[in-house]
Amino acid sequence: MNTLFGEKKTEAKKIVFTSVDQYPEAPISLATTLSNFTGDWRTFIPVIIEEKCVKCYICWKFCPEPAIYIREDGYVGIDYDYCKGCGICANECPTNAITMEKEEK
């Protein structure tokens, strides 16, 4: 699976308890936040124009989610399940290889 968190993401599950007995004794966490797909917060969607990409990874570096990953071919990919569409990647890209487009849902 070609995303930043790979298997961890596929295994990520929402946890809902229906009985007090299922709860742990202390309020300790039981899972990661990877089951929470924040991609639906997005209004604008970043689109990568690969021809312009110089593989500098600045977008990857500054993604606060993180939702940008480095692919095996050296280009970057965006995990749209998590990308909130903040646009930092597009703003910081030195070659304007990322554009923010209005997303139709």
Partner: protein, 395 residues
């Protein structure tokens, strides 16, 4: 099990606490000085300085931080102890909830001292009783021996149910009074109190965990129930540990309320802490004078020993509740609790509340006798003149 040969020492209540901390092999002590607690941490520091105890001592900058650091230490798997008094305990209040909510078995000695203003450094239970709803167990010591025993037992109980515990001793009357204390040889304490097995451990990185995250209304409620249940379960653990302590060391604590002459008593004195020593002395004298009187010393105020109280209430005509504390706008706090327990039962002893010894006003044998006289009169009349009596008030 090795044979028990106690080591008898003449020590203050505060030193008894410090010895118990050493014998419990506490790993982290984070504390701030406050009269009359200070000599506890001084003695612990002396143990460390002499190489007698291997304790990480964190000289924090406030009681709020003392409790916060203790919580951090406990969450990171250590056996943690702190001590405070009055204003210091009040400053800790927020973090008391944190310790119980995070289910950390921190043990703390609180030296009962009156709240200011006016300034006072003397004995008064309002400081600890004001922490009633923080989810801490509360053990009230009658004497220095009970301070020592209480700390050791509290660690065991707390670490079994993962609920923090407070051991409470009177300002000066215990904290600075030297008395004979039987201490337990280290190897026997070790048998009684093995190293802590934490519920979770921040130093375990096999699976990343967060502790105490935001819980929505959908989940918070269940965690409160868990704590309530743990506190309820603690009653049995307290009794079992108290019994085990008695079997090992000869001092039985299987009763959460210590009873004297209750079976054939017309009425009993009920109270907590050091003043009950004086009450016991007075009750013996009163018995010789023909009074059918007994006593009920509440050792554990949280969890509250409802069942034991009910048993007593069913067998006596009256209960004189001695409160060295007060809840403003209502009445003595133990009185209030005890009455509440009995409401849904058939037990209906006459209960009268005597507010005594606030701010360290000495409470003496003649005082107990005078109250016995008053209580006898109330029982004979079959009704209360007034429910709450400010016994010492200058009129």
């Amino acid at each position: 099990m090795a044979e028990y040969k106690p080591i008898r020492k003449v020590v203050s209540g505060n030193y008894a606490a410090a010895y118990a901390v050493k014998h419990a092999r506490v790993q982290v002590v984070a504390a701030y000085p406050i009269t009359p607690q200070t000599s506890i941490i001084e003695k612990i520091a002396e143990f460390i300085a002499n190489g007698e105890a291997d304790i990480q001592y964190v000289p924090v900058e406030s009681e709020h931080s003392a409790m916060a650091a203790s919580i951090g230490a406990s969450a990171a798997g250590a056996r943690a102890f702190t001590a405070t008094s009055a204003q210091g305990l009040a400053l800790m209040h927020e973090m008391l909830h944190w310790a119980s909510g995070a289910r950390l078995p921190v043990v703390m000695v609180n030296v009962n001292r009156a709240m200011a203003p006016p300034w006072s450094v003397w004995d008064d239970q309002t400081d600890s009783l004001a922490q009633r709803d923080t989810g801490w167990m509360q053990f009230y010591a009658e004497n220095n021996q009970e301070v020592y025993d209480g700390v050791l037992m509290s660690f065991k109980v707390a670490e079994t149910v993962n609920v923090p515990a407070m051991v409470i001793e009177s300002a000066f009357i215990l904290s600075h009074t030297y008395d004979v204390v039987e201490m337990i040889p280290q190897e026997l304490v070790d048998e009684f109190l093995p190293p802590r097995k934490p519920l979770y451990d921040l130093a375990d990185f096999s699976r990343a965990i967060s502790v105490g995250a935001l819980a929505t209304p959908n989940d918070y409620y269940e965690f409160r129930y868990k704590l309530a249940k743990a506190m309820e379960d603690a009653k049995k653990v307290i009794k079992d540990v108290g019994k085990e302590f008695g079997e090992r060391f000869g001092r039985d604590y299987s009763e959460m309320i210590e009873k004297g002459y209750v079976d054939d008593a017309d009425f009993v004195f009920m109270g907590m802490g050091s003043l009950m020593g004086t009450v016991k002395e007075a009750v013996d004298l009163l018995r010789k004078e023909g009074y059918k009187v007994g006593y009920a010393k509440v050792r554990w105020f949280r969890p509250f020993p409802k069942e034991e109280l009910l048993e007593i209430a069913e067998s006596v005509k009256g209960i004189a509740v001695l409160d060295r504390n007060f809840s403003f706008g209502q009445e003595g706090i133990l009185f209030n609790e005890a009455k509440g327990v009995l409401y849904n039962t058939s037990a209906r002893p006459i209960m009268k509340n005597y507010i005594v010894g606030l701010g360290g006003r000495d409470f003496t044998v003649p005082d107990v006798k005078a109250i016995a006289e008053d209580m006898k009169r109330v029982i004979e009349a079959g009704k209360l003149d007034r429910e709450v009596e400010w016994y010492h008030l200058k009129r």
